[in-house]
Amino acid sequence: MTHNELPLFYVFHFYFFGIVGIASAIAFVTRKSPVAAALWLVNTMFCLAAMYVLLDAQFIGAIQVLVYAGAIMVVFLFVIMLLNLGHASALSDARGMSGKLIAGLVGFAILAQVFALTRAHVPEALTLPENALANQFARSGAIAPLAGPLFKEYLLAFEVTSVLLLAAVVGAVVLGKRKERIRAH
């Protein structure tokens, strides 16, 4: 199948998830209640996952939901609910006119960058031949193309990253234990 013109089905879902994702992101930064904001963020992550699936990165899409929406945001919610943050109006991050101005400028710069990138010419060497991913899926499944390089060429980097994560876990345990030791003395 040639894709000079993507089907309506595809285009519809692209815009649907795009618009819902952006709307949720706006709701996320404007909601006063921390719990509502966190849930809008979850919705944004869903839409992002859908976008990944539309781009044939199905593994990344599933991991996006599994790790961010299913694990990290649940822990966030946990913390928000337990802390009982009080009234939300005192919690705003962007304080003062200059803070808001800088935040707006950064947002505008990123938006401009996105527009520039969609119009940029992609070098021939970076584009895949037609149906390359579909053939790869049929040949070795959705995750083998990712697992191969990760556990062969880049095994060392992968293992070093896992050591870094382990160090973070150990650090968290040490910080959690410290209070107890102070109290004991």
Binding site: H3, M81, V122, L133, A134, A142
Partner: protein, 443 residues
């Protein structure tokens, strides 16, 4: 299309940006479309009716185990009891706690139900049908990442419960919700680890591959090849669905009714439906991952061409037999085992199931590699027999050595001999109970 055109004009984004020409676009055409719509309707109908019947079955089986009659007034054998309850719940007044956060209070029951339903979209129900309009897959959406999709959606089930607990603004509800999220996050890890051996054997994460690897005489069913993983998965499944012996989020004696204390009428019903829906989903997963999916054992009839409609229907029926068997196991265990203590639950998840499944992953990976190195083909009977032998040893070690002297292996403290003797006495030396003679009755 006009909206799309408008958006394209506004954003300058064309439908074929550079570098995106290689995208896979799903099948289209009328056969695919009609088949998908029919599959959606069928899935939803069977599922909802199934939930109703499972609720009825739970009450009848519970009554049988407790030597009572159970619901037997509405319809033959009380079959329509769930319909009557549904009508009652719709007619009842909805109550809202004064201090509840209403948007989430209303959203929570829906969010606990939807993930269980979505999971069904990737499960293959039966053998594919070679119709004259092309091969029709029995899974609604046969995704290449099938199993990861299930894990991802399954991890969302916790939201409904946590939000219900928090938005009710009731300390018992909140405690129930927190317990539940801790429990589900802990057991999700064990559940994911327990399925890695299955994925190692299948060499892929798509459910169609997992099922087709197990197809055949029944010797390649994963329950035979990776038995320990099945046990871990089953225990984790009980915890994930908040069923006894892991129903701490709604422990009546401690938390009134846990996260749904404040819910009434249809919103309570949604939680109730969600529990049984989850039970059926997890049963379907156990059947697919460990019991060959739609495969019929002791015959090759279902695995060879031609793939007629009859084959699809028979394998579909067989798949449901497996699901209902696991649903029965769920109900059976609920009315047999007492509830765990919270620390026992956490100790079981983190100190026993997680290490066990980790060691098991290494064991299975090594065994698979060794067998392939020795030239044993993974689809041969020698491979299955070798794996069976390995599993007999592993199960023997777990239940005969590690579990020795403990009632349920990881329950944290070791029971001394005096305790066990006492329990055995209670089991064998009890007086025979006289059967109840009352007619009917609720529950």
């Amino acid at each position: 299309m006009t909206l799309v055109a408008l958006l394209q004009a506004a954003t300058g984004y064309t439908t074929t940006p550079n570098g995106l020409q290689h995208l896979t676009v799903p099948d289209s055409g009328w056969a695919w479309f009609i088949a998908t719509v029919v599959k959606m309707l069928l899935t939803f109908t069977i599922y909802m009716v199934g939930v109703m019947m499972v609720i009825w079955a739970e009450r009848r089986i519970c009554a049988f185990i407790q030597d009572r009659r159970g619901p037997n007034r509405v319809g033959p054998h009380g079959l329509l009891q769930s319909v009557a309850d549904g009508v009652k719940n719709i007619m009842k007044e909805e109550t809202y706690p004064g201090e509840a956060y209403l948007p989430l209070f209303i959203l929570a029951p829906v969010m606990s139900f939807i993930p269980a339903l979505i999971t069904w979209s990737v499960i293959p129900y039966g053998a594919p049908w070679d119709s004259k309009w092309g091969t029709i897959d029995t899974a609604l959406a046969p995704m290449p990442i099938g199993f990861l999709f299930i894990l991802a959606i399954g991890s969302l089930g916790v939201y409904g419960i946590v939000l219900a607990g928090w938005s009710s603004n009731n300390k018992y509800s909140l405690l129930g919700g927190l317990r539940s999220s801790a429990q589900m996050i802990s057991y999700e890890i064990a559940m994911g680890m327990a399925t890695i051996p299955v994925l190692i054997l299948a060499g892929n994460v798509s459910l169609n591959t997992i099922v087709s690897r197990q197809a055949g005489w029944g010797l390649h069913w994963n329950v035979i090849n990776v038995t320990v993983a099945f046990f871990v998965f089953m225990v984790a499944a009980f915890a994930e669905t908040n069923r006894t012996p892991f129903d701490l989020p709604e422990a009546e004696a401690e938390l009134v009714a846990g996260y749904h204390s404040e819910y009434s009428a249809m919103k309570f019903s949604m939680f109730f439906i969600a529990e049984y829906a989850n039970m059926m989903t997890v049963s379907a997963l156990m059947a697919t991952l460990f019991f060959g999916g739609w495969d019929i054992p002791f015959t090759l009839w279902d695995n060879v061409a031609p793939h007629t409609l009859i084959k699809t229907l028979v394998t579909f029926a067989f798949f449901w037999v497996k699901i209902l068997f696991f649903v029965f196991v769920f109900i059976w265990i609920r009315w047999t085992l007492p509830r765990f203590r919270y620390d026992q639950l956490m100790a079981l998840g983190w100190k026993f199931m997680l290490p066990t499944s980790l060691v098991y992953v290494v064991l299975i990976a090594t065994a698979t590699w060794l067998l392939e190195y020795m030239g044993v083909h993974p689809a041969s009977w020698q491979f299955a027999v070798a794996m069976l032998g390995l599993n007999v040893v592993a199960v023997g070690i777990i239940f005969g050595v590690i579990d020795r002297g403990r009632l349920i292996s990881p329950a944290y403290s070791r029971l001394d001999k005096r305790h066990i003797d006492k329990l055995r006495e209670a089991r064998y030396g009890r007086a025979r109970l006289t059967p109840a003679t009352s007619e009917g009755g609720a529950d």
